[in-house]
């Protein structure tokens, strides 16, 4: 295997869920035989249990646009989109070097 680009782009959990859905993944393991492999079904079932399961493309895009004014790194934005913090304590845990950001 020759690696052209080890990192050709990060994907949020929602984008991976959307991709597996368009490939034909379903919660019923017998229903997606042939369309997707069993390992892909396992990833799909894991993604259905996390906040990505009820996100939409529009909401993720809008969040990314609204973040422009804040000094958030790409890693912070990815963590927030993937885990959708609901309290200040959650945001504190997700954003690196939050003290510098506040200052």
């Amino acid at each position: 295997l020759c690696r052209e680009k080890a990192n050709a782009g990060h994907l949020t959990n929602f984008e991976v869920l959307d991709f597996l859905r368009t490939r034909g993944a379903k919660t019923d393991p017998m229903g997606c035989l042939g369309a997707v492999a069993a390992s892909e079904c396992k990833v799909y079932e894991y993604l259905l249990k996390i906040p990505a399961c009820n996100q939409t493309r529009e909401s993720v895009t809008e969040f990314a646009n609204r973040c422009e004014g804040f000094k958030l790194t790409d890693a912070d934005k990815q963590n927030i989109i993937n885990w959708r913090p609901t309290s200040v304590a959650d945001v504190y845990a997700l954003i690196s070097e939050i003290v510098k950001q506040i200052i």
């Binding site: 295997l1 020759c2 690696r3 052209e4 680009k5 080890a6 990192n7 050709a8 782009g9 990060h10 994907l11 949020t12 959990n13 984008e15 991976v16 991709f19 597996l20 490939r23 997707v36 492999a37 390992s39 892909e40 396992k42 990833v43 079932e45 894991y46 996390i50 890693a75 990815q78 963590n79 993937n82 885990w83 304590a89 959650d90 504190y92 845990a93 997700l94 690196s96």
Partner: protein
């Protein structure tokens, strides 16, 4: 958690797949080779994302299969250092906790990277002692949030004894000591 990796590979196409459309046959062969396997320094392959280009199709002397030079993108599970993940505790030992995401289980939190005040009790379970004197046990199937601290790809062992644990080609070490975890 998930990253796209672009790879180029000289793929031999077995003759029994040649009756299928070329792109489908190449995708099937790539999935057979790479799906659910760990590629060193790239991570766990979750899916073939797309095929960018296919060239060649030459048959080399002495072989029955045609070889194509395929450029494609793989969807890899490779969390970055500093990413927050949520998983379930699947076991514990003297070194620390084992955590599992449903599709990947070789994740461990070493004892020294747990929350300050976490100690191992006499029954083997890890517990966090709070300032009030309460003990909060970390039991199996509890959900736990953690920060990725390092990812290792140990080399394949040449020999394995019977008692050794199954070889884990990708090991993720975690840090649960920061505030909020």
């Amino acid at each position: 958690m998930f990253v796209l990796s672009q790879i180029e590979h000289n793929l031999p196409m077995p003759p029994h797949l040649l009756n299928r459309p070329l792109v489908d046959a190449i995708k099937a062969e790539l999935e057979r080779l790479l799906l659910d396997k760990v590629v060193a320094n790239l991570g766990l392959c979750v899916s073939v994302y797309d095929i960018l280009s296919v060239e060649g199709g030459f048959i080399f002397p002495g072989e029955g299969c045609s070889t194509y030079k395929v450029s494609f993108r793989l969807l890899m599970f490779r969390p970055f250092i500093g990413e927050v993940l949520v998983g379930k505790i699947s076991g514990y030992d003297e070194k620390g906790l084992q955590v599992s995401l449903d599709f990947f289980s070789d994740i461990c939190i070493p004892g020294h990277l747990m929350q300050f005040g976490t100690v191992r009790g006499e029954d083997g379970r890890w517990a966090l002692k709070t300032e009030d004197g309460d003990e909060l046990h970390l039991d199996t199937d509890d959900e736990i949030r953690f920060l990725v601290s390092s990812i290792k790809y140990p080399p394949i062992p040449v020999e394995q004894k019977e008692d050794d644990k199954p070889f884990a080609p990708m090991q993720i070490n975690l840090d649960a000591s920061a505030d909020g975890f």
